[in-house]
């Protein structure tokens, strides 16, 4: 074996890291080569120096200080970590499903408790409130009441109203002539029978007229004070 090859193995050979065959080859070479033997001696002394290196030692109270530190660590652990989960819980369907099922069941039970037997009875009314109200007042008309139906007419067209007004005028005139009464005025608010204009909106005529009969106090011409009754 050449010196160059042997020298590449010297470090391992001095540390006894070669297999027996290589170790024997190196040993044979060193027996016959002084320069390689000198090189090997450097590695040998290096190894001896490494073994003689002074040991680094720790201070005597190292264990005490360390155990104090560990005691602090344990105190810290019991104050914080013991009450906390090791890691944040993962939200998956597998973990959520039991929670959801339980929540649904709880809702059903609470609903059943509040709603009683009616909640899941097929034909039960959905509400305890009355379904139909007494709304007859909406359709109640004076015409339906015989006490209020006096003087009401079914037909409130303009023509009929004018006809009625004319008839009343005739009656009024006849009464005045016969019994000396004054004029009988048909009034509806500010409107009088005489002021009815055929072009006027029929809206005003859809009001129930008020009939007032005036009797003259002594005058037959209709002048002077009058008294309604």
């Amino acid at each position: 074996m050449h010196c160059r090859k042997v020298r590449s193995l010297l470090s391992a050979a001095c540390s006894d890291e070669l297999d027996s065959r290589q170790q024997a080859v190196v040993k044979d070479h060193l027996a016959s080569c002084p320069s390689c033997r000198k090189e090997a001696s450097y590695y040998g002394s290096l190894r001896l120096a490494a073994q003689e290196l002074p040991k680094r030692t720790l201070s005597e109270d190292f264990n005490t200080r360390l155990l104090n530190r560990i005691a602090q660590e344990r105190f810290h652990e019991t104050r914080t970590r013991a009450y906390l989960p090791r890691r944040a819980p993962r939200l998956t369907w597998r973990t959520l499903a039991p929670v959801l099922v339980t929540a649904c069941l709880a809702l059903v039970m609470v609903g059943n408790f509040l709603g009683g037997d009616k909640l899941f009875t097929p034909n039960a009314p959905t509400s305890t409130l009355p379904t139909s109200m007494d709304d007859r007042y909406l359709t109640a008309q004076p015409g339906n009441n015989p006490n209020l139906a006096v003087g009401l007419h079914q037909d409130w067209s303009l023509r009929q109203q004018l006809a009625r007004a004319e008839r009343l005028e005739q009656i009024s005139r006849g009464l005045a002539n016969q019994y000396g009464f004054g004029n009988l005025h048909l009034t509806s608010g500010t409107m009088t029978a005489g002021s009815i204009n055929p072009t006027m909106s029929p809206f005003f005529l859809r009001q129930q007229p008020v009939y007032r009969v005036y009797r003259l106090n002594g005058n037959s011409d209709g002048r002077g004070g009058s008294q309604a009754y």
């Binding site: 540390s15 290096l46 490494a50 002074p54 190292f62 660590e73």
Partner: protein, 201 residues
């Protein structure tokens, strides 16, 4: 066989520690504190800092005791923690190097005393190891000072086996080059050394 029994002892102690046994923890500290100090102390050079790092290593072991994987070796785990902490400390120190130099300017006398070259080869070796680049120093310390197997070193450093062998060999070569003049000066090739070499081979 011995390695296996060491591993079993570590596992037994670790199981007890996981159950909160502080006596077991103390036993574990006694088993590893000197070994860790021997490596970390040579990486950091400052005794106080190295002691703090060793303490911090055991605190980390206690904090993460439940996450220890019994598929792996405990020694690999604790050395990995310790070396990582030491590396972080070195990184910090590099960042604040300016302040350290300014602090030292006032003590020129002390520096002159400290700068005196050591006379014995082991002391020289100690200084030479501290001057090695980090990755070579770690490999050399674990292999030649702690006498771990190459496989264990590869596990601690998390590098391939071939890389570890290469680094260790390179570190030895660098150290030999640094110590060579002193060895010759002190007539290191004395009979005792030659005898030691012949006994090794």
């Amino acid at each position: 066989m011995k390695e296996q029994s060491e591993k079993d002892i570590d596992f037994t102690l670790m199981k007890a520690i996981q159950k909160g046994d502080m006596v077991a923890f103390n036993a574990m500290v006694n088993r590893y504190k000197d070994r860790l100090m021997n490596v970390i102390g040579r990486m950091l050079s400052s005794h106080e800092e190295a002691e703090d790092i060793v303490q911090e290593t055991f605190v980390r072991v206690y904090q993460h005791r439940q996450s220890f994987n019994f598929q792996h070796c405990f020694s690999t785990w604790i050395y990995t923690i310790g070396l990582n902490l030491a590396r972080n400390e070195l990184r910090k120190r590099r960042r604040f190097k300016f302040f350290e130099i300014s602090e030292m300017q006032g003590n020129e006398k002390e520096l002159a005393v400290e700068a005196k070259l050591p006379s014995r080869i082991p002391e020289m070796l100690s200084e030479a190891v501290e001057q090695l680049p980090g990755k070579y120093r770690e490999a050399f310390l674990l292999r030649d000072i702690e006498e771990m197997s190459y496989e264990e070193v590869a596990g601690v450093l998390d590098v391939p086996l071939g890389t570890v062998k290469s680094r260790v060999n390179r570190a030895r070569l660098m150290l030999r080059e640094k110590l060579k003049p002193r060895m010759e000066e002190q007539n290191a090739l004395s009979k005792s050394t030659l005898l030691a070499v012949s006994s090794l081979l």
